[in-house]
């Protein structure tokens, strides 16, 4: 086929048509999404907001890995019954360090956005090991194997670094000490524990979450994460947590 004719036809119909599809289709997304990137001007301020500790990041990654988000949301809507059931409705700022967000789309289990400090660590250990031993009607899967597996913490520095690349303000010091801090957070009586509160704030939970000494287990990490949910900032508790439209 003649190369010029080919080009002619390619240009006139097919390509024009393809461009039309791309043009027509991409506008909707652009118009809705683009303004969200200027949103920091209107979103709530939360100067007290802290980042996740390395152990909490490890726990969060287990939450992702196990697909907890398939059954649990982390987004309390501005509806009266939700606020009364779960606590103050979620603010945008609360998930600003969540890469990716875990707002969820299905509540086979309850919302977890304000799970921090709702239950004791022991409750969580028992519940994660065998949900039906704690809540007989539960349909949550048993996660006993998390208590048997040692959490991988040796590479957490790389994780924090990647998170810094996408915009979470981790300092060099945090990145350098990530593994030690992860260990220290679950081992309160060791010299490593001190650095955790120094770097992440006095309010950080430093304790053995699964009640066992030694290297942190995956259960340690997961519970450390669950106990911080909704606790990174107080912002949601500050405005009148009035519900409804």
């Amino acid at each position: 086929m003649n190369i010029f004719r080919l080009h002619y036809r390619l240009e006139r119909k097919t390509i024009g048509f393809l461009l039309a599809i791309v043009g027509v289709a991409s506008i909707g997304g652009a118009v809705e999404i683009a303004p969200l990137f200027t949103i920091h001007q209107t979103v709530e301020d939360a100067p007290d907001m802290r980042v996740y500790t390395p152990l909490e990041i490890a726990g969060r990654n287990i939450y992702l890995r196990e697909g907890c988000y398939a059954c649990h949301s982390q987004m309390i809507r501005t509806l009266r019954d939700e606020v009364e059931r779960y606590g103050p409705y979620s603010l945008a700022v609360e998930s600003k360090y969540d890469h990716p967000m875990l707002w969820g789309s299905k509540r086979t289990g309850p919302d977890l956005a304000r799970m921090g400090n709702k239950y004791s660590d022991e409750w969580h250990v028992a519940h994660m090991t065998d949900p039906r031993a704690v809540v007989p009607a539960s349909v949550m899967p048993p996660y006993a194997y998390l208590g048997r597996a040692t959490a991988r913490i040796d590479d957490l520095g790389l994780h924090l670094k990647a998170l810094r690349t996408v915009g979470v303000p981790y300092t060099d010091e945090m990145i350098a000490n990530a593994t030690a801090d992860a260990y220290g957070q679950a081992a309160p009586d060791t010299p490593f524990a001190e650095g955790v509160t120094k770097r992440y704030g006095e309010a950080t939970n430093v304790r053995s979450f699964d009640g066992k000494v030694g290297d942190p287990t995956e259960l340690d990490a997961l519970i450390a994460y669950l106990q911080i949910l909704g606790k990174l900032t107080d912002a949601a508790h500050r405005p009148v947590a009035a519900a409804g439209e």
Partner: protein, 54 residues
């Protein structure tokens, strides 16, 4: 860019764009000289063709 401005643009522009689009598409679909092309196209798949044209 200001958030208010982008938001305003999004809200207003979307509407105009939608209306212009709809008019354009309907005009194209019902343009008299296009009728034959469309009718032929609708019939074309029913033809009993078993091999590519060469």
């Amino acid at each position: 860019m200001e958030n208010d401005l982008t938001v305003w643009l999004s809200k207003s522009f979307g509407l105009f764009y939608l209306i212009a689009m709809s008019i354009g598409i309907v005009a194209y679909a019902y343009w008299p000289s296009n009728k034959k092309q469309f009718d032929d196209a609708a019939q074309s798949i029913l033809g009993n063709e078993d091999r590519p044209w060469r």
